[in-house]
């Protein structure tokens, strides 16, 4: 679990890797937040995001036992998320980061992904959490498959997710110009 010192400092790849968990196991938001805050008196803001499996059309109509199957690329998944965390720690003044992503079959309503960020002040924590989610959705090698009854369908990537990630480039360019 990554903890920055009193002054701003970027996470090393090893520190960033220690912030990441990819597994079929569920997570407890309260426990993860408590663990990230533990012993860090400089934390003044905690922002968390939890993504869950939303009911889709075919599941609603055909199959209450429908599942979302999450495939990933073991090894690359963890490395790519750690890389995003390392980048985020250079860009935002954050103290701690935790990212958990589940894989395997998940039922409707189950938790998929957790991002928690701690910082001294709220704006850096909000922005860092949004940055991590936007980039995770377009860079980390996960693929969702919806399985309802006899129908199985790979979820299509969305252009709106690409656009959400791109706006951080734009923001950076504007910061650079200012």
């Amino acid at each position: 679990m990554g903890k920055a010192s009193l002054t701003r400092s970027a996470f090393t790849h090893e520190q960033a890797l220690a912030c990441v968990r990819v597994s079929p196991e569920d997570f407890d938001l309260g426990a993860e937040v408590a663990a990230l805050r533990a012993g860090d008196l400089g934390v003044g803001a905690v922002v968390s995001f939890v993504g869950t499996v939303r009911e889709w059309q075919e599941a609603a109509v055909a199959d209450p036992a429908a599942v979302m199957e999450l495939e990933h690329y073991p090894g690359m998944t963890e490395r790519s998320i750690a890389e995003l965390i390392a980048q985020a720690s250079q860009r935002f003044d954050v103290r701690g980061v935790r990212v958990i992503h589940r894989v395997g079959p998940l039922s409707i309503g189950e938790q998929i992904v957790l991002v928690v960020v701690t910082s001294a002040h709220r704006q850096q924590a909000f922005d860092c959490a949004a940055f991590l989610m936007d980039w995770l959705k377009t860079r980390a090698p996960f693929w969702k498959k919806e399985i309802a009854g006899l129908e199985a369908r790979w979820v299509d990537a969305r252009e709106s997710d690409e656009a959400a990630a791109r706006r951080w480039h734009q923001a950076r360019d504007e910061e650079g110009a200012a």
Binding site: R79, M133, W143, D156
Partner: protein, 85 residues
Amino acid sequence: MSITVRYFASVRERLGAQESVELAELASPTVGALLTWLQARSAEHARVLDVDRGLRMACNQALCEADEPLSDGDEVAFFPPVTGG
């Protein structure tokens, strides 16, 4: 030594999880040349490994472009656009 090729998601379902290619077989030691070689392997390969439909590539577990250089023992992966989160 050779190149290990891995496939994921919809690409894996149609081509299998993994195959091995000799670096010496390629026109040049790049991910793009590997892709061209694989596309010539079968009609199904050509259909599935379609860059126009957003095929992504990674070399040694980092996203890359077609001009990425290859060495013996490298691991290359081809997969559709990601949909996690």
